[in-house]
């Protein structure tokens, strides 16, 4: 079994589920003939044909809206948005319709759709191609928001998302699409949604993050370890709902909480995590809750994006500040 990247793991999960569930249909802009601009859907058209793998006309509201009609009819639509920066015309359908169909029909109809989009910066992409606005969707009742951070989690979480009976926004951290390779058995085994993953156990400080920032966070933890700071790293993975049990247990153990995300800070998902810790875990805390995040600025064009993105150096220095609280 070969080692594969995150992008290949996404493709492997799509292949697996399309093979085992003929209700799965994949569509979006340039996902068929072209195999997706990041090659996540490569080979699907050849294997499953034009009935199940479709290039759509160029319209994002349409992509989301039709997915809802398909899902209510018992299909398992997997709709791709080419980049997260182009998902906004679909917000109405995701928020007002997909996330509410079950509730507003009291369970008569439902919307088991998956909305996929690559998100985040750091690949020197053009304007609007480096968005990280997961919080907008994490706020939406009835929706799930999932972000993998490794090939294995991409495979297992995407399978779980497709099988989930309710709508899921599945955001793919394109910066680490090809970062590491991992053995990912194509066994069709899904990972639990609604669970955090403890990537590294530690006793001094809890580093909470998701998506591509896992990279800098792991680097920072290595360096901090050298300095004798034992870091616990939590990959939140599912941003709606959030597995606060795991997070609070960790903070209770370490007494220090540092949240890292790429998105802008103001009302980012990090705020929800900090707020919940400040309500239920405040007496565990030895230090303030800190957030190392993207700034509340527009994501700069690529020449400056590295100054916007949280660096491992900044994670390290902030963790050190928190360590000063004994």
């Amino acid at each position: 079994m070969a080692n594969i990247t995150l992008v290949e793991a996404v493709n492997q999960a799509l292949m697996y589920e399309m093979t085992h569930d003929e209700n799965v249909v994949v569509f979006g802009e340039d996902v068929a003939k072209n195999g997706g601009v990041f090659r996540t859907t490569v080979g699907l058209l050849e294997k499953f044909g034009p009935k199940r793998v479709l290039d759509t006309p160029l319209a994002e509201s349409m992509i989301a809206g039709m997915a809802i009609g398909m899902a209510a009819q018992g299909l398992k639509p997997i709709a791709e948005f080419q980049f997260m920066g182009f998902i906004y015309p679909a917000v109405d359908h995701i928020l007002n319709q997909a996330s509410r169909l079950r509730n507003r029909t009291r369970g008569r109809l439902s919307c088991p759709a998956v909305f996929r989009a690559p998100y985040g910066g750091g690949i020197h992409a053009p304007e609007h191609h480096s968005e990280s606005t997961e919080t907008l969707f994490a706020h939406i009742p009835g929706l799930r928001v999932v972000i993998p951070s490794s090939p294995a989690r991409a495979y297992g979480l995407l399978l779980a998302a497709i099988r989930n009976p309710d709508p899921v926004l599945f955001l793919e951290p394109k910066r680490i699409y090809r970062w590491v390779k991992q053995e990912v058995p194509d066994d069709g085994i899904a990972l639990p949604l609604d669970k955090c993953f403890v990537l590294r156990e530690g006793s001094d400080i809890t580093l909470i993050t998701w998506g591509a920032m896992i990279k800098e966070t792991l680097e920072a933890a290595e360096a901090l370890e050298q300095q004798g700071v034992s870091c616990e790293i939590i990959d939140v993975a599912t941003l709606k709902p959030i597995d606060f049990e795991t997070i609070l247990q960790s903070v209770e153990k370490t007494g220090r909480c540092l949240i890292i995300h790429e998105a802008a800070r103001h009302c980012g998902v990090g705020a929800e995590i900090a707020a919940t810790v400040a309500e239920h875990g405040i007496f565990f805390l030895r230090a303030p809750i800190k957030r190392v995040t993207g700034y509340d600025t527009v994501m700069p064009y690529y020449k400056m994006e590295k100054y916007y993105l949280p660096s491992s150096a900044k994670i390290i220095s902030t963790a050190q500040q928190l360590m000063e609280f004994a």
Partner: protein, 361 residues
């Protein structure tokens, strides 16, 4: 400046269909698919719809119902659509489809529940297998849901069609256009019915678009369309039947523009006198769909004051049952707001559910 030579590369035209004129006169022979028996059925449904709306408005005025949009004047469209559809077709309504609901067998007490602030109004507990979508308030969203369902029918090679309704104002929405364009590109089995009642709340169609017809919007999506007299239930029904057969047999989508007039306030929260010229408003009653059909039926001696009285008595009874059922519906569970949110409520929100129960449970 001399005009250059232009070569014509494409030509289009818009066709209009009518059978029954405003005076109840046939402007052409009845289609084979139509007969007096069916027309009586349609007439009865249209009258019941009119009475239902009137009743709902009263319920609102007396504080027993929330804001309500009646479909006064549009009954022929709803009835024609409802009768032409088969049980296996799926309906994606907007919010003035009471005649269609009636003929689709949607519990009318549910419609009252919906406008009465109760989600169970879209649950159709009497027929939970119904695949029809609930009333759609965000204008034009339903058009895309219909295309998605139509794709599913095509995908499974089912001989079914999706039908969606919208107002002429709603055709200014990008979603409407994206839906008809996709339906054309993928040749989907879907029928778009535009209720052109001339007004979008206070905005007349003349301010909504420079188009002379709504039917011509289909040209911009490369699909077929036809304009019908929306106050002529025969024309609406015929156009629908034709479009549905075409859709079910894989020949693609159709846009039907049904010309009518909103002879009521936009909703009970609206006062149309603020913006509709009274003369225009009054004139519209000359063309409304119920009167002309009754005149036609009477001229052909298949209807009478006698029959009218019997029907009215029956309708009154039916309405009472509907309203009683609505008013006597037991209160829903407070926790429903959590219990239908996801198939299985995630732990994080389980805590919130407990909060709710602790405060109000």
């Amino acid at each position: 400046m001399t005009k250059p030579r232009l070569t014509t590369t494409a030509g289009f035209s818009i066709q209009h269909l009518q059978f029954l004129g405003p005076q109840g006169e046939l402007t052409q022979a009845l289609p084979e698919t139509m007969n007096h028996e069916t027309l009586i059925k349609l007439y009865e449904a249209m009258v019941l719809t009119r009475l239902f709306d009137t009743k709902a408005i009263n319920l609102q005025r007396t504080g027993q119902l929330g804001t309500y949009p009646s479909c006064h004047g549009q009954e022929a469209i709803g009835a024609g659509v409802g009768l032409a559809m088969q049980a296996t077709d799926v309906f994606f309504p907007y919010y003035r489809d009471h005649a269609t609901f009636l003929l689709r067998g949607t519990p009318m007490s549910d419609i009252l529940s919906y406008w009465g602030g109760d989600e169970r109004g879209s649950a159709n507990v009497e027929n939970p297998a119904s695949e029809d979508f609930p009333i759609c308030v965000p204008i034009a969203d339903q058009c895309l849901h219909a295309t998605g369902a139509a794709f599913a029918f095509q995908y499974r090679n089912e001989k079914r069609a999706a039908v969606t309704t919208i107002g002429e104002g709603g055709t200014s929405q990008g979603d409407f256009y994206e839906a008809i364009n996709l339906a054309g590109a993928w040749k989907l089995p879907v029928v778009f019915v535009v209720n052109n009642n001339q007004w979008a709340i206070s905005t007349p169609i003349s301010e909504q678009t420079a188009c002379k017809t709504i039917a011509q919007k289909a040209i911009g999506a490369g699909i077929d369309s036809v304009q019908v007299d929306g106050n002529d239930v025969i024309a609406v029904h015929h156009a629908m039947q034709h479009a549905l057969e075409k859709a079910r047999s894989g020949k693609g989508p159709t846009l039907i523009e049904a010309l009518t007039y909103r002879i009521c306030d936009h909703t009970t929260a609206d006062d149309a006198r603020r913006y509709i010229p009274q003369d225009e408003y009054q004139a519209a009653f000359e063309f409304e769909p119920l009167k002309r059909l009754r005149v036609y039926l009477e001229k052909n001696n298949v209807w009478s004051d006698e029959k009218e009285k019997t029907m009215m008595a029956q309708h009154a009874k039916t309405l009472d049952e509907i309203v009683t059922k609505f008013l006597q519906r037991p209160k829903a569970e407070i926790t429903d707001m959590f219990d239908y949110l996801y198939e299985k409520l995630p732990q994080q929100f389980q805590f919130q559910r407990n909060e709710l129960v602790n405060e109000h449970g």
